[in-house]
Structure formats: C-alpha cells, structure tokens
Symmetry: C2
C-alpha cells in the first residue's frame, strides 16, 4: 500500500516514520522542514528504539505526490480548512483518509466537502514532540485506535492495521463514536484545564479542588457520550482515566503547547463541536462550556497581541 502523510509534525512523523522504517512506501508532505529533511533525513528518538530515515520521500506540494491508498492526516484541526486544496491530488476512487486528530467531528466535517471519501478516525495514545527540524522525540505510549467512519473497503482497513502492527505500532480497530468520545473524556478536561490554570496534569491532580473538578468534567463528557448514544462507557471510565494520568509523567497536552507558543488552539474541534453535538440531543456540559469560554478569551488575548 502507498501511504501519504499530511502534517509531518510530532504525530505524523512518528507514525509515518514507523511505517517507512518497516519498509512501507510512505510519502511525506512537509512545509518548513522540507529543505532540512530532504538533505538530512528524519530522526525519531523513541522510547521504543530510536531510528533514522536517511532518504524519506518528501514533498512540499501534494500536486507532486503520487495517489495514495491511505492518506494519514496529522494536521492540527485548526488547519483543516487546508484539506480542501491538499487532498484531491492524493485521492483515487478507494483512497482511505485516516484523520489522526483531536476532538469530536473532524470526519463528518470533512465528509461534507468530500461526500464519497472513505474516512476513518485515528485515536493516537502517544506522548511525542518535535524537538527540532526533522527530529521528533517519542517519550511514551504510541498505540493507535482506528475507527471506521465511512470506509466501504474493509480490506484496506485491515491492511492498514496489519501494516501498523508489523511496523511495531499497536493498532486496534474500535467503534468510531465510542472511540472519539472516550478520547474526549481525557482531552476535554486536561487540555483546557492545563491552559486555563497554566499548569500540567500532575499539578491539577495534586490539588484536591481541581482534581474533583477534572473528575466532574469527565463525568460531563461521559454523560454527553451516553446522551448521543455511545455504548460501553460509564462513570467508572473517569476514575480509570484519572488513575492512568496519575501514573503518567507530568504532562503538557497539545493544547497547552499551543498556548505556550501562542499558536491557535483546537477549541473548535475539542470543545465547540462536542458541546454542539450534546446540545443537539438536549444535553449540556456546564463546566466544559465555561472552559470553552475561558479558552476563547485566553486565545483572543494572545492572538490579538501577536
């Protein structure tokens, strides 16, 4: 299978890099790092074994890239408006587009623009960051859950999962809605709260007041998930997420890094879409709606002063 990677950052470089390192035919789209990677290749520093790609297939324009069987989109959702231009050169009739993105709703949003497109969600459980041009540091975790949204070619889904597993990435097929909403339980609480209080996961859990608040916010997401029809989720999932986070290294989620570097935050997909979907069935998440408002205020303050 031929792979295209759009968004060669901390996440796209890792998953694309693992596939390429295992011998898959992977084509990377790069912007700012194009010159550097074209000359020096890509370095993946990884807790699971570091490696270097000497001559990855890199491009700075999707028009120059071959059609792919699987396009992996690992852009921030704040840049999803670019996909309308970026995707078409990469697509044949049965191309699967895997969105390794945060939040609720990137697939239905993209489906509106490409009604026939095969889409799947990639839920990455990974701590990684880009440390310099062409270099990614993968600190821990790394598995990926894949939920079929609209892919009618089940064979390509199976081969994608097999390729990942062969490349050393634990990949599982999961139910789409359940997977996106379960990921939202952690994301909606910790991403926003680390920004609102300018802190990290461990500090939020060390303070009894914010630990209880995080738990309450998780219960709001679980309630919303149940309200929109997700099966297999109940309140105990919040306890498991908190337990897992207590065992993690103190962590700054992606939204906190966006905040630290004064980049746009993924408020729309992480909060607004989830809130709107819950509202559509008459469910509200007051604490997360408050957090959404705080994040909008914070983002407007720093984007204004750029």
């Amino acid at each position: 299978m031929k792979y295209a990677i759009i968004g060669t950052g901390a996440v796209g470089s890792y998953y694309g890099g693992k596939l390429a390192h295992a011998g898959c035919d992977v084509h990377f789209l790069l912007h700012s790092d194009y010159e550097y990677v074209n000359l020096h290749g890509m370095q993946i520093d990884s807790c699971d074994g570091s490696f270097h790609l000497d001559h990855p297939q890199v491009y700075h324009d999707t028009a120059e890239m071959p059609q792919a069987d699987v396009v992996i989109v690992a852009l921030k959702t704040t840049r999803n408006h670019l996909l309308k231009q970026l995707l078409p050169p990469l697509l044949h009739k049965e191309t699967l587009v895997l969105l390794i993105q945060n939040g609720i709703g990137p697939e239905p949003e993209l489906q509106k623009q490409f009604p026939e497109l095969y889409l799947a969600a990639g839920l990455a459980f990974i701590c990684s960051s880009k440390t310099e041009p062409g270099r990614v540091n993968h600190q821990c975790y790394g598995s990926i859950n894949i939920g079929n949204y609209s892919c009618k070619n089940l064979q390509v889904m199976e081969r994608l999962i097999a390729d990942f597993n062969q490349a050393g990435v634990k990949a599982y097929e999961v139910e789409y809605h359940e997977a996106r909403w379960k990921k939202a339980v952690w994301n909606m609480s910790f991403n926003g709260m680390t920004v609102a209080l300018n802190t990290q996961t461990d500090q939020l859990l060390a303070n009894p007041a914010t630990r209880e608040l995080i738990h309450r916010q998780m219960l709001e997401v679980i309630g919303a998930a149940q309200a929109v029809g997700v099966q297999n989720i109940d309140d105990s999932f919040a306890d498991r997420m908190i337990e897992m986070t207590l065992n993690m290294t103190p962590y700054s989620p992606s939204m906190k890094l966006d905040f630290d570097f004064h980049r746009p935050m993924e408020i729309e997909y992480l909060y607004s879409h989830a809130i709107a979907e819950a509202h559509s069935v008459g469910y509200s998440m007051p604490c997360l709606e408050m957090l959404e408002a705080e994040l909008k205020f914070i983002e407007a303050s720093y984007l204004k002063s750029r």
Copy 2:
C-alpha cells in the same frame, strides 16, 4: 451615637471618614497605618468632594477603645477569625455590629460565636482603594444598603441610617437575605472571573464568550437565591447588573486586587458559603463551583511560593 471602625482600609476609611467628617463620634482601629494617621490624619480623595481629617480618634488595640453603639467591621472576611478577640472590648448590651463585608454568611458565622450580638449586613456599592498610608481614593458610587440580621433595637438601625444620610452617604434599609444574594450576583461572577482570566470587568464583557459566561454565572446565583427563598429577584436582574457594569470604568474587583498583591482571597465567603447554602436546598451552581476550584488552585499556587 458612638462609632467604632474595625478595618480602616479602602472601605472602612471612607464610611468612617464620612461619619467623622459630618461630626459623628468615630473611633478607628488601625494597624500598619496607626503611626502615620496619628501624626498626619486621614485623607479621603473623593469624587463626591475630598476632605481631610486632621485628628481622627485612632487606636491600635480595641482594648483601649470605648464601648460603641455601632461597630462597623470592614475587614476582609479572610480575617474574620480575629473578631473573637477584637470585638468584646467594644460591646455593650445593645451594640449593633454592622458587617460591611463580601459574600454570603458572615453574620450567621459570627452569630455562632456571639449568640446575643445585634448584627446587620452592610452592602457597600463603592469603588475605592487605599493609595498610600492614611489615604483613600474614592472613585465612584458610595451608597450602602443595610440589612437587619439580628438587631432587636430598631431605633439604632434607624439612627445609623440617618447618620449615614446626614453624612452624605446614601443609606437604605433592605431585606437581609435579598440584599446579600443580590450583591452575590455581581460578586460571584466578576470577582472570580477577573482573577481566573487575569483581566478587568470591561474585557470580560467585550469578549462575547465570556460575556455570555458572566450572564450564565449570574443566572446560577439568581437560581440559588430563589432556591433558598429570596423574594424579588428574577433573571432580568442579571441583565441590569451587566448593563450597570458596561457603564462602569474598567474595574478590578477586590478579589482581583488580592490576587494582584498575592494576598489570601475571600473564596470562603464569596464562593464556598454560597455554594454550601445552595446545596443545602438541593441546588447546584456548576460554573461557580468550577470557578471556586480554579480560585483555590490559583491561590494555593501563589501562597505556596511566598
């Protein structure tokens, strides 16, 4: 009537100063400013006409002060634990203690310690700040609503209100619960939110997301007030409070000043007591409970690093 002022800061200096300037017999308790004010007097810079008290009656210990007919307490509620020691020398059998303090519940809390004491609430609508030792800047407003909590001598209530009005302070008698909860509508939203987002009233109202959030928080307080049995308050009160704030100079509420100077914040009386009283009748205020948790986290962060 003989007056004692405990807490000669931005609020106590103004109201005590107005009474003294009008010829009332006013005795001030001072701490850090005692030496300065004893030598140089007190200066009230006021939008309603500035004045200077050349020789105010000042003390640094209530044990040296005369018994008073009215004790005006204008301490922050964070220092209310001091009242058990401070008050007794000032009290005769019918002394009225007026608490010009923020939040819900300072009177019932104090009543527990002094079961026979005559208590009233003073709700000050004033923008003032202490600018230097012995000097207060009164920027705008200045009226005071007085709610009888447990004063059985109605004559002293009447005389207090008359003395205020004669001194140029608009004073009105109001229903105690209604007055405290109405004040909480503004206080619980703006005090905490200016801290949580490190901003001022005008910025919160200029951003559509936080303006809606402030409105929502006000509706939570109004709902709690109705749930605990307060009459004469409905949702339109939130619109009036927002309208009033839009017409105010950009303002940092008292909690924001406490935050700016890394002083303890009045979380307990402004938030925790109100939340507990609402809970006692089965009502919850999710956004304000979230704000309480954020404030506890913020306060712990800076008090720890002192």
